[in-house]
Amino acid sequence: MFKKILIANRGEIAVRVIRSCQEMGVKTVAVFSEADRRSLHVRYADEAYCIGPPPSAESYLRMDKILEVARITKADAIHPGYGFLSENPEFSHLIKKSGLIFIGPSEFSIRTMGNKISARQRMIEAGVPVVPGTKENITDKKQALKATENIGFPVMIKAAAGGGGKGMRLVRKKEEVWEAVQSAKSEALDSFGNDSIYVEKYIDSPHHIEFQILADKHGNVIHLFERECSVQRRHQKIIEETPSPLMTDKLRKEMGRYAVDAAKAVNYEGAGTIEFLVDNDLNYYFLEMNTRLQVEHPVTENVTGIDLVKEQIRIAWGHKLSYRQNELTQNGHSIECRIYAEDSDNNFMPSPGLIKKMTEPKGIGVRVDGYVFEGFEVPVYYDPLISKLITFGKTRTEAINRMKRCLEEYKLGGIKTSLHFLKRIMETPDFVKGKYNTHFIDQNHDFLFNNIVKDDTMENTEDMAAIAALLEYQLNLNHTPENNHSSSRNAWKEFGRKKGVTRL
């Protein structure tokens, strides 16, 4: 087995990977930007190296520096986590070229799946259903009109290199086609340096359902069932669950088989996710493949019992898969809520800052994957994800009720978070019934935002809040405040701000 793994990431996922490495007896190397000196991944790793200033482009995206740390520390392998360099084919290539192991797929797999046009082509060849649409880059008006007419309106114009809603246009009639193509191309060129676009049928009110797959270096591929990820805001998932309330056994088997075919079609190695759009009539279409670990992988771990990071590492080492498809079952139900440092009532505006107080939920059926602590200041430079709260229940209802209990037990003082909003979702009748698609938040806007009442308020709570604040105020008047973390850092000021870390 590997002796030492470098984790080219930060935040909760870096800590999560370190934990599985520790359980395997593998040493870990953290890399960090100047904004992350106090982060938990730096403290929990066996070794830690600063690789640059806070902006990602100058630190977590610097392949040269990361490879240099791997060389110095004699790490055998690099785990990319998610985001940052995890889906960069060049990174996979460079690591291999350096004689190290990339814990993820080959450059070829990443590159093929990273371009939507080439991914669609591969999938069509492999017999995996894709959204009806064009296979080639659209270059002229005649081609555009013919393609859209064949598909039938409404259609989506999409950038081949796209992501995050950029270079996308919804077109409802013929007259709008050419202008939409041109503007999408221009936006795609601006954003991705590549103006290839294609046309797809527009799927109305789709469900976003994805399948977890694992593939070893010996051609074996299995799927670990689905995750339902339709609860999204700003095109970003905030709640995921498995099993999907929409799923049937037959559909699961079919889609699972296609997910395996999709992975095989690009000679995939490691853990990956095949995303599908599913309409209300249970028609399903390949959307894209994420060639890395997903944020929401813990719900799959909860119902299968399998540690996906350990499997990634074993696969990268060359082991065959530990399980065969027919050995896997889904036991119980699991839900993940993403806790963001954001103001959910104000258009989900990021809200970084100092965590002045933190209590995390514990006890039966709960898992918290986070990286912050009391006194930690959430950096402004990165994703505002603070932690993932994952519950398990024998039934979906139990998992929901447990999530409500845990969201209430979770206290984060000093910053705005999505805790309250997530609890509101757990109470939304459409969610409770399992009847929701990607328009869930829009369709339940009134319930989620306009119907805000104080929750389960006990009598006189406002008065008790006033009393507690008054007593704290009086206590502070007479004594030095003790729970003021910023003062703890002032006390430490004589050490100045970080200057002297070993830098690369």
Partner: protein, 167 residues
Amino acid sequence: MEIIVNKQSIEVEILERQANELLIAVGNKKYRVDVERVENGTYSILCRGKSYDLKVIPGDNKRNFTVIHKFNNYNVEILDAEARYRKNRNNTNLDEDQSSIFSPMPGKVVKIPIKVGDSIESGQTLIIISAMKMESEYKAAKDCIIKEILTTEGATIEGNQSLILLE
């Protein structure tokens, strides 16, 4: 002592204090409560058998707190003598800080869809900033005119930097 809880002003007075037991008047109600400061900044109050577990989070200054109880946040301000003095003094120009748009965090300017001299309506977008992997729109809080624009599209900005001056 005058205390403002979620924008409602109320008079709170400690009438008796014997060990951890307090008799407190809040408005026209009287409570006999048993109080323990169980952790730093965390109070357990028992009142008429009910158990309240309250996190008192310090705010911007020594008079401001956010109190968390279950899912609810209560913004509490203690109006001590100093606060009352400041409040009286500032009453005339409370909105002065609305004369410019600040960046609350470091990021990058994506778009400035207005120009100097424009007449702006309340709610209109003034600038779009990309930070923490997301784009956020900053809107005018009231009708105004653009006096000066201190940054440009594509510029990298610091936290708390003045971006646009309004009239």
